[in-house]
């Protein structure tokens, strides 16, 4: 769904320089110079061409300019966020991973890591949060603190470009889309009756390291045993740990199957991790009242 500020690529390709730059000024955080650098190369024709040109401009910029671009980013879950002083994009992005709902302990952990990172690398920690859960952001933090500065400068720049790609994909309407979307789907087969299992309620949760779980989506299987929409689709699947919970006891009872009392299998939890945000994850359930199986499908 286009946000109010969506603009078509055709319009951008035809606009004067000022309009073009204004529309894309914050694709790279507080850095309109990136849009300026590519305005003359229009028309782009495809979103991919526009994105590649902007990314190339960033990679071709000198070390100082790149450093300024990195420095322009806010701390993750930092004081600016608490104070409401972020760009609209940054606010929405940090909220997507739950960084706007941290407990005091979590806030303290982020603060400690932010400080350690700035001390070591002289820039804020940047990660494309739409590709991550809170837990995987913390894991990234720990890992990247071990990088050497040159490695880490390159990694931070890669993340900036990933952030820009997602912003561009949301901002600009074009015939093509950037290949940013992963997918998470399921399928329930009733191997007791030899049929898709229709009408199974299910819920997808994100799990945190501390055992907490956050509901992502509820759905009910349709006649083909699938959900009408993918559980996650059209966007990256945040890297992290998930649990799918299927309510199968009522389904079998409703089909008149004689069950144990209480039913041997009732609620089936499947716990799995996503490691590639752009991957396709199909997690089916084959189930009888006495057995089940799951696997990474396709």
């Amino acid at each position: 769904m286009p946000s109010p500020t969506t603009v078509s690529l055709d319009t951008l390709d035809a606009a004067d320089d000022e309009t073009f730059v204004a529309a894309l000024a914050d694709i790279y955080e507080h850095s309109p110079w990136v849009a300026e650098a590519v305005a003359a190369a229009r028309p782009f024709g495809t979103l991919a061409a526009l994105h590649d040109a902007m990314a190339a401009a960033v990679r071709a910029a000198g070390a100082e300019r790149q450093r300024a671009l990195l420095a322009a980013h806010p701390d993750l879950a930092g004081k600016a966020a608490r104070a409401g002083a972020l760009t609209a994009e940054s606010t929405a992005e940090q909220a997507s991973a739950g960084l706007d709902r941290l407990s005091d302990e979590e806030f303290a952990a982020f603060h400690r890591l932010n400080t350690a990172y700035r001390d070591r690398f002289g820039i804020p920690f940047i990660v494309c949060v739409r590709r991550h859960t809170k837990a995987s952001i913390l894991r990234q933090f720990e890992r990247r603190l071990a990088n050497d500065p040159t490695q880490e400068h390159a990694t931070a720049l890669d993340e900036v470009i990933r952030i820009a790609a997602l912003r561009l994909d949301q901002r600009v309407a074009a015939a093509d889309r950037l290949p940013l979307a992963g997918r998470l789907s399921t399928h329930v087969l009733d191997t007791h009756g030899g049929t898709p299992a229709a009408g199974i309620p299910l819920a997808l949760y994100e799990l945190s390291g501390d055992g907490a779980r956050r509901l992502i989506v509820r759905a009910v299987t349709n006649r083909d045993g699938r959900t009408d929409q993918p559980l996650i689709g059209g966007r990256p699947v945040p890297i992290g740990l998930y649990e799918l919970v299927f309510e199968v006891g009522a389904y079998f009872a409703g089909r008149g199957v004689t069950l144990a009392d209480p039913p041997f299998i009732d609620q089936v939890p499947i716990r799995f991790a996503v490691g590639e945000a752009e991957g396709h994850y199909h997690v089916p359930l084959l189930v009888t009242p006495w057995s089940y199986a799951t696997y990474r499908g396709s």
Copy 2:
């Protein structure tokens, strides 16, 4: 392991009446008359014969005596329990189902049900708690409140005899054992490597209706992918809901298998219910880094 008060059947068969009755006075709660009624029928030779004789004496006793026997039982999770005023047997039994560790809400629920039950049937609610979890006791409570008084009197007597059987089995050492023991076991097969999965840490939890879980036992699989001891054995498997959690990610990493980061399958929870306390429940796991299956085995 015999408790300090264990006595052999041979000794009981040869003892004078007084000794015999003293040893078995509280097999039926506060009711030495049951032992008295069968003392003359000695020798029994087997535990089964002794138990059958005592149960027959109870069933043959008049309605008044049976009612007195029922009335002699304490409330479940009642004030007497809180005050430490139970027999040693009742104390241990109620603890086995966690009735000595109730939250205030749970205590209030038991109190309400105890009162409703007494109001309706004029006796305390009796259930063989070693065959149940807290959740299934509450379910029994609700169900049995719907019985008519004649039905419920018979049900209560059945439970009293079940309690007596378990007490007898613990108290008296004999060549035979009463058929009271269920079994819960597991087996982990690595279908990626075609071998039993050795060294897999696992934990068995009891789940409550409110989502809380209580650790029952931890174990590690041996060379055959099994645990050295059954997870529950030599006693009833309390009717209720369980979760077995297997730690498989480290196992595969330790075998040098290339895994996703984070591993697609790491911790595997299997949720299942036990409906027959004397049943044999074998709950195996067939697992690869990308798939798993479980079923009620044998």
Copy 3:
């Protein structure tokens, strides 16, 4: 792919009566009167409407005319077939089930059943052979011999209409298709590697009662672990017994997986029956070098 004699429904709807009847004269065996009976009802607009009208004309015809229609059919695998004296349609239909390649024993069996059927019902045995294998035709024969004459007359008429529907679907090109097509498909998942299994050679065989097998189709799985075309599609799946054989040993060896010598699992045969010719049969294989699973999917 339209055969040379295909004609469009638009053409038929616009043609004079004579042309219309000539084009559809043998949709019902040697019975142009059926086309004649519906010519005035044009235009039909859809294939379904044309088929329904013709079927209604057959059902509305008197007993004598229906009996003549039934009698106009050749014996299955009879002398006329051996002598090459069938209509082109009947020849192709009987060949589809292998009735043109009978052993002498099979020919004798058909002859014996044809004679018994004619003696009992006074008409030839009619079955829509494109929906059957040789084995299921023989089974139909035995079952229908047990019908009473009224039942069997109705059954034979149903089969005649099924035959007509398939002929119409092949003869007439229209925007709609009659719902005659079943589908048989497969999918191979490598649950050792967590990926679709690409490049797996497989073969589908039809099994006879006597243990013989006839190759239906060979295929190789594509990048998604599926075959580019369904194994059977766009036509009924003949009722009968099948075996799918997958060559998985070379696949795992090719991925560098250490296998037993010889590999524990190499060739995987899956034997299954089709009972609904218009059904969708999806028969996946989940496989590691040490395990596999299959099920009726969707």
Copy 4:
């Protein structure tokens, strides 16, 4: 079951040298000197000690004596076998792998390989046939023809010692047994009903490279879903390709399960290979009317 010539180790340990040597003269083919060499080392006390002593004597003998021992063996499936001129042991051993029932083509193949082997190594081809099927013997033949003479001399000696171990295990009754026995077993679980599948007829076949199959054993599952005896036990499981065929359709029909007509799953063939003759192969079947799974169990 001891054969008529079985003798106890105690008897052998106590006998005079002549009796001892006579009893074990043909443990090594036509080579009583091996028994002579160890007679003075008695008493052995265990079968393992006796076997180890005899094997050590063989390995310590000079090259000439070893070569004479190897040369004393008959050709596999050779003219001597056809003419009935083998020792009783060799006759029984060759029959165990079906070498007494070769087609003319197979006889010719063995003759050609025997000749090639003798030409290359100057000794007959020796293999412990009780550990092999006909197909795996032919595969061994091809492989070992590629060895260099020193390697192959050692390999042949290893096989001679394996043959001796099996002969000794059959000939001498002792408290211990040599670790020569593999095992092949199965278990059928009905995951539709959550119970072991009792009364399932099954058959084990050995498959040849040319597609032929030879029945090894038939059995019916007992109340626990297992067979009363292992399918192969107490002896090596011949290296080769097998098929287990389970008749499950009648089982589900007998339990009153509504099945497709014909049943989707009726006869289940499981094809697998044995690579370690002393291995334990457990090949279970988890089955519903619509799905099944198998794996190498333990």
